[in-house]
Symmetry: C2
Subunit: 415 residues, 2 copies
């Protein structure tokens, strides 16, 4: 849980804090568990192996698989992935019962993530009205069994942010004393806000001696921010899935978490994760579950590194860090300064003129920029359109020049 601040000279590093693990966190990648609960997911063994292998290569610390009790094939697949010999530890996610725990251990996993509902809602509607004493007793029995089988064990409450705080801390303390390696906080319904997350995780940090894993759903758009804030409050492990796929609109996306961590923890992230492999993993999973990568996906959305407004383009061309907190080249991607619109400015057009290998004075570039903006008022401009306007303008300039110089027009057209 120590926090190494090797980014001390970074001017926009987050507020330092002795609790913070932003420079020392682990990823529990749950595409093959939470992700299988996504509406259109159906992973056969071949697909599962491909995803697990890619994630392992990327550098995730843990890979979590669907409960082997879900179906016969789920059990066989779990056993098969355990045998792959990946660097990442293999976990499975089970209900808090001896039957599920036994099946999980029999599959050869490195660890079992058990979960049980602790909110009044879930105890009433999912656990048939069990009280917290019964829930705790059941948890300890299962934990001791899993430990006796030599596996890591994590205990998580479900719907933690709508559970009674005293109930929660009591059960976490009990399972911590029972020797779990990790406790989990889960925002199962996606209701938590960052300051609630900070308060709960910071409080929990003082009550248990275990690692702390967090799992955030994105129903209210805060999964990434909540994950980051949990690390600031002392959490050690973040649950992710590729593109965030999971129940409903999913959980904290692996890629977005990388985007969030890079500005604050660049050295740590680069030392652990192969960021240039992110796009291929996302593309593979997107195809497997038949979705498109969202247009606004951090890093890999088609326009994540596109700059359009004239004033943005001007500054970006001077120095990319003016309008970029992430460097596209860190992810094997490239920046695009959009110049074909009425919002363009002459600095963007100047850059394009240079790319086209044409020579113009600044005044001439301002003149052709005005022409492009006029045309951009009438209809959407393709790159080709803009290039045509530039070339045609340049052609006329050359023509004018050649007349002035008394040369014939043909020579003047050479570029």
């Amino acid at each position: 849980m120590s926090s190494t601040t090797n980014n001390i000279n970074n001017p926009y590093i987050t507020v330092g804090d002795f609790l913070s693990n932003v420079n020392n966190f682990k990823i529990i990648e749950s595409t093959l568990r939470e992700g299988e609960q996504f509406a259109t997911s159906f992973f056969n063994l071949e697909t599962k192996i491909k995803i697990a292998t890619m994630l392992d290569d990327f550098g995730v610390d843990y890979i979590e698989l669907t409960n082997p009790a879900a179906s016969e094939q789920s059990r066989d697949d779990c056993a098969a992935i355990c045998k792959l010999g990946l660097k990442a530890k293999i976990l499975t996610h089970t209900r808090c019962t001896l039957e599920d725990a036994k099946l999980a251990c029999d599959c050869g996993v490195d660890g079992v993530d058990v979960v049980i509902g602790t909110s009044q809602f879930l105890r009433e509607h999912s656990l048939g009205g069990k009280d917290m004493v019964a829930v705790t007793k059941q948890a300890i029995e299962v934990i001791e069994y899993i430990k006796s089988r030599g596996c890591e064990v994590r205990f998580s409450s479900e719907d933690s942010f709508r559970s009674d705080l005293v109930d929660l801390l009591s059960i976490y303390r009990a399972v911590s004393n029972a020797g779990v390696g990790r406790v989990g906080v889960a925002d199962t319904v996606g209701c938590a806000s960052p300051r609630q997350v900070y308060d709960l995780v910071r409080t929990l940090r003082g009550c248990v001696s275990t690692d702390i894993e967090v799992h955030f759903h994105d129903d209210t758009g805060c999964a990434v921010a909540n994950s980051f804030t949990a690390l600031e409050a002392g959490a050690t492990h973040i649950d992710t899935s590729v593109l965030g796929i999971g129940e409903r609109n999913g959980i904290c996306p692996l890629g977005a978490l990388m985007a969030r961590m890079m500005p604050t923890s660049r050295d740590y992230v680069l030392s652990k994760y192969k960021l240039h492999k992110l796009k291929a993993i996302e593309d593979f999973v997107a195809e497997a579950v038949q979705i498109n990568v969202p247009f606004n996906n951090p890093i890999t959305g088609f326009c994540a590194f596109t700059h359009k407004a004239g004033i943005h383009a001007k500054a970006i061309l001077n120095s990319p860090s003016t309008y970029e907190i992430l460097k596209p080249e860190d992810f094997g991607l490239s920046r695009y300064v959009h110049f074909a619109s009425r919002l363009t400015g002459w600095n963007a057009i100047k850059s394009r003129v240079d790319q086209l290998g044409l020579k113009m004075t600044d005044d001439q570039i301002k003149e052709v920029t005005a022409k492009i903006k006029q045309m951009g008022d009438i209809r959407p401009l393709a790159v080709d359109d803009t290039d045509s306007i530039i070339r045609s303008f340049h052609f006329e300039l050359q023509d004018g020049q050649t007349v002035q110089n008394g040369q014939n027009g043909v020579n003047g057209h050479k570029e």
Copy 2:
């Protein structure tokens, strides 16, 4: 800036705070300004009027338009939208110069949002090395001009989270004294994290007597959480765009902000905004800029209210609030319990059996659930497939029953 807590009985309301405006905020909708800076945006006047009218009907407080100085058509469109007589106030967003301010006022806007770079990065690369004294002097001159024209004026720094804190507070204090109605904090590069936002906005709240507007880019996935946290710290106005479209991967999406506010500020949100119109607005804008609504979009993503895992389905069928913080019916949408997969459980199948109007005992439903999970192990199941398995199983049951009852099979098949 007063905070009315009419949700006092809500068990998962956020931590209360005298600074908080989560129950008293306004929306500055910038689809027609920030959104026009999105890579594929090209809005003609007809489209702009349609978007402005829909947003006005939805209930946004302000509509922000592209700088009239951007192009001739931008100026004409701005003037035309000002003449529509919408309930929402019309703003435009300009550079901090007298020329831009004059043009904006001439168009008939209700207010002008001026912005100027304050970070060292921007002063160096965008403003030709201006120091803070020169930046402040320029700002006050422009502010006084706009006020003299009878318009609202907002002053925003750009790239606020990478600006020197003392510089920032000095210029905000100066413009507050010069009589701006609103100061703006802008995370132009999308680098801010929630606790940084809380700290800066809370500090600013103590330094100025104006309203506080916040503008968050989503490069690191925190725009929604940062907007919410800013309200907790005393901000009063949130910038949004439909689906978040804007420079790079955009800003805080209008819909996601609604998702974030509903669990904490349900009564306030319902009193102001027509949530059931959200989907139509998103669909219209998505088509206009040729994008798909992201699969994981809060509220309107295709699976935002889809439940798949057996244990989730069981609880949801008992009581939707177990796994839903948002009610689909608030948005004119409906929930879907996915039952056609190997992750299904017998409670989900029971619900489907009821929907099909079939009668089975719980034991029979568990038996057919096992069959469905077996089939779901082999290949993806369509709803039709699952229904076929259920009907076929039911058919056999009826058949068996009719044999037991000594009746002929044909009558037994009636449902």
